[in-house]
Symmetry: C2
Subunit: 109 residues, 2 copies
DNA sequence: TATATTTGCAAGCAATTACTTGCGTATTAA
DNA sequence: TTAATACGCAAGTAATTGCTTGCAAATATA
């Protein structure tokens, strides 16, 4: 079943949970309240996220505290890197063009 | 069925196809040859990627030419941005600490 | 101690995924 | 014109997803 970061962010509810954890760690029901589905559905997403290694869960009394494993998300950025090089390359070409246009006197255009 | 970029990169074969298209555009069978599965399986992944909007397919004779829609992948980077701020924030704190340690004479440590 | 709160587990379900095999249809080359 | 190549479509399958309802267990509160 080998779940990874890429599986973690494939679902909009799970992306939303992760985003929600950027501001503060939260327990299961606090997270569940934010979604229009049963507590159990959200609970399963949380379990899934844990199996992906993107969050950790710490038991505190009867509550379970969820917090982000932020460095796990760097794997996505790492994978994205060669693509990022491509699109920033394009932006640079556009920048170059714009610079050229700006440096020329209007008469020449 | 509403597929998006996040669905596109959720599968390792599809990630591999995308990576393969960074160097050059390729037709279906050329891509299929790279994987240890049937041509048809790869063909379905390609169709899936197209539906996600991350590649475009142009018919050229009897071949179908696949090329990256690179700007679509920026959506992932955009989503990742608040998280990136978090982990670079941490790196900065570490940098600060390292700077402090380096600026102090060894005796003080 | 009785009750409320927080949570996981189990079972069930329809839809989707990640493949497969077999076949049909363009397009190109012999 | 015949044969090879490049490809999609259809149907079938086992596993996974994304959800539900119902129940049980642990912990906290009255």
């Amino acid at each position: 079943m080998n779940r990874d970061v890429f599986n973690a962010i494939a679902d909009p509810t799970r992306r939303s949970i992760l985003m929600s954890l950027t501001s503060e760690s939260q327990h299961v029901n606090a997270l569940a309240d934010k979604f229009d589905m049963t507590r159990q559905a959200v609970s399963l997403h949380i379990k899934y996220l844990q199996e992906c290694g993107v969050i950790t869960i710490k038991k505190e009394g009867r509550e379970r505290h969820c917090s982000l494993e932020i460095q796990k998300l760097t794997e996505i950025a790492d994978w994205l890197e060669p693509f990022r090089k491509m699109w920033t390359g394009k932006f640079n070409q556009l920048d170059t063009l714009l610079d050229e246009l700006q440096s020329k006197p209007k008469k020449e255009l």
